[in-house]
């Protein structure tokens, strides 16, 4: 038998799994009693509720048709989009302290811009110039953020 409403089914599974996760790792600590709660008490309680409700959602999702106008199917993840947007940010965080704010920002914009199919190279370059200027004025000059602005090997020059 097929899952009727996979959005609900998988949300339920996800919630239950999260609940279980918190219950399991809460057990590293003492439970205590209701009157003297240990660090594990509250998370176990909440985790238990989450497992319970999550299972109910999953069961309902398995057996019940989704409401009209909703297929209940999970739209496919756009991994390329996710990779480009989140990847650009991760790369930024990694190169920031070596290459400095200006270059890292430029790299981030360059990668992120690829996520939109309509983006054009000229516009991207213009954006890099403008945003770098704004970032410099607002964060370096404005609030005096403590961060390398230019690459370390530039500093001596």
């Amino acid at each position: 038998m097929a899952i009727r409403n996979s959005k609900d089914f998988w949300s339920g599974i996800l919630f239950a799994a999260c609940g279980l996760f918190f219950i399991v790792f809460a057990q590293e600590h003492p439970m205590g009693s209701a009157a003297r709660m240990g660090p594990a008490y509250f998370p176990t309680l909440l985790g238990g509720l989450l497992v319970l409700l999550g299972s109910i959602i999953a069961l309902i999702g398995f057996f019940k048709q989704p409401p009209m106008g909703d297929s209940g199917r999970i739209e496919p993840f756009q991994w390329k989009l996710l990779g480009l947007i989140l990847g650009s940010v991760v790369i930024f965080s990694v190169i920031l302290e070596f290459l400095g704010l200006m270059i890292s920002t430029a790299v981030m914009i360059g990668i992120a811009a690829l996520a939109d199919r309509t983006s054009r190279l000229k516009e991207t370059i213009a954006m890099i110039v403008i945003l770098d200027a704004i970032v410099y004025v607002a964060f370096v000059y404005g609030i005096g953020m403590l961060v390398p602005v230019w690459p370390a090997f530039f500093a001596g020059a």
């Binding site: 919630f15 809460a26 998370p43 989140l86 983006s119 953020m145």
Partner: protein, 503 residues
């Protein structure tokens, strides 16, 4: 109106009218309007994104600016609702219905004008409501013990769940997940590290800003890129934004009713702008009946005047529970609480007595902000309209840049950026699964407080859970929460709720 109200307001004016505070109020509403008008960003994302920029300010300036961003963004959201039929925010959904029809018939100017005037009147009234009701409510809140606080928070969370748009059960799960994420870090009672997995960065808990920015900022970007935004612009020639005498006459009563509804509903847990605007629209539609000319849904000005006043009043009075009890009633208030904690202000009833200047200054600044908004918007509306044409592909890189650097600037540590990325991904999964983010955010903010009060209440009662029912206040709050759930679960009303949210 008693003397203390006047003296309190006077104190507020003296604080809010300082040059720096006026400046930050102005900056807040301007940026807020800008972001509200720009495609793809609502008030929550706006406030989340700009939270880090307020770190360096003093607490009152920071809160005044954030509040300004909030109602400025809401204002901008209404402009896009009317002109391009895209609600920048859920509360502006009903404005789309008649506002955009008015624009199509060439009355865009009047629709924008009446929404500005209605919002301003509502804003003035709501400011007075806050000033009048905050002190007695604060007084009342001091009587609260741990049990009462616990029940109040439960009520607040249930309210948020009940008003979430999707499935009730899913929203409950989101709250629970938020609560659990909220208690990650050092346990205040025993000092042990919970769910830190040996990571030093997690000992202080998950930071509020990266979490909200990931869930609201980043996942929003990916969502928008996915549905590739197409906007049907109305290049309506706007002759004037001043409504005619006839239109003003028609709108007067809806504005008054909307203001009252909004002021009332805004205070409710889980309430605020969204509920208020829906309620006002429904009421105006019922009152106008079949004879309405033009019919509702085809550009009746009352369908703009009422909800626009209501959502502004509601968004302002939703500050009441936040300021007096320290309980956020919606996602933006959760962010405001986060901002207070960043500035070492413990939210709760004591804020009014320990920081009277901040408290009253913030309240009065809302009135000033509304005044600035009307000055900013009516004459300059054409400039804002131009902004509607900015393509999204220019915007999202800018959003990413500001989010990233903003998050990094908090601690100067890439860790916060990684947390943002993580929650951006999590937010994307929730979007795919039709789970709403707001309940999670509320749970996250309330997690530690809820645990603390539960512990204390049960310690005092020696583990007897009936303590929550024997205190009359606590019992009443829990009964209200139960009642709210029952209302939504009852089938007849559930159908109506679904219809209301689908419109």
């Amino acid at each position: 109106m008693d003397a203390s109200l006047i003296s309190n307001l006077a104190l507020g004016f003296s604080a809010a009218l300082s040059l720096t505070n006026i400046f930050y109020c102005f900056v807040g509403v301007t940026i807020g309007t800008l972001i509200g008008v720009l495609p793809g960003m609502g008030p929550v994302a706006a406030v989340a994104m700009l939270l880090p920029t307020t770190y360096a300010l003093d607490p009152s300036a920071a809160l005044i600016m954030l509040a300004g961003i909030y109602y400025g963004a809401q204002y901008g959201a209404s402009t896009t609702a009317i002109l391009v039929n895209i609600p920048g925010d859920a509360a502006a959904i009903v404005t789309c219905i008649d506002g955009h029809q008015m624009a199509k018939r060439g009355h865009a100017g009047s629709a924008l004008g009446i929404s500005a005037i209605g919002s301003f009147i509502a804003g003035c009234f709501a400011t007075l409501v806050i000033a009048a009701f905050a002190p007695p409510l604060t007084e009342f809140a001091f009587k609260f013990g741990a049990a009462e606080y616990f029940s109040l928070m439960v009520l607040g969370l249930v309210g948020a769940v009940v008003l979430a748009t999707g499935s009730l059960l899913k929203a409950f799960c989101m709250v629970l997940l938020g609560l659990l994420l909220g208690i990650v870090g050092t346990d205040v009672n025993s000092g042990v590290f919970r769910f830190t997995f040996g990571l030093d960065e997690l000992q202080e808990g998950i930071d509020f800003v990266p979490l909200s920015m990931g869930i609201y900022g980043f996942s929003e970007i990916m969502k928008n890129l996915e549905i590739s935004m197409t906007r049907d612009l109305v290049p309506a020639a706007m002759s004037t934004v001043i409504p005619s005498r006839e239109e003003l006459k028609q709108s007067a009563a809806p504005i008054v009713r909307g203001t009252l509804i909004g002021s009332l509903l805004g205070v409710l847990p889980g309430g605020g702008a969204l509920l208020s605007s829906f309620a006002s629209y429904t009421l105006e539609k019922k009152l106008a009946g079949e004879k309405a000319n033009p019919p509702f849904g085809q550009g009746n000005i009352r369908g703009v005047a009422g909800p626009e006043s209501a959502n502004n009043a509601g968004s302002q009075t939703s500050f009441i529970p936040m300021l007096t009890l320290g309980i956020p009633s919606n996602a933006v208030m959760a962010l405001m609480i986060g901002a207070m904690m960043i500035h070492d202000i413990v939210p709760g009833p004591q804020v009014m007595s320990t920081d009277p200047k901040l408290f009253w200054g913030l309240i009065v600044s809302m009135w000033i902000g509304n005044l600035i908004l009307i000055i900013l918007n009516l004459p300059m509306i054409r400039i804002w309209v131009q902004l509607l044409r900015v393509p999204y592909r220019w915007l999202y890189p800018a959003i990413i840049v500001f989010c990233c650097i903003g998050v990094y600037s908090i601690n100067g540590n890439p860790w916060d950026i990684w947390v943002t990325v993580f929650f951006g991904f999590v937010g994307y999964i929730f979007y795919k699964l039709n789970c709403e983010g707001a309940p999670l955010l509320l749970g996250f903010v309330l997690g530690p407080m809820l645990e603390e009060n539960l512990r204390r209440a049960l310690l005092l009662s020696r583990g007897d859970p009936t303590t929550f029912l024997t205190s009359p206040i606590s019992c009443g709050l829990l009964m209200t929460a139960l009642f709210m759930i029952l209302i939504v679960v009852a089938p007849a009303i559930r159908q109506k709720r679904e219809v209301a949210f689908r419109d």
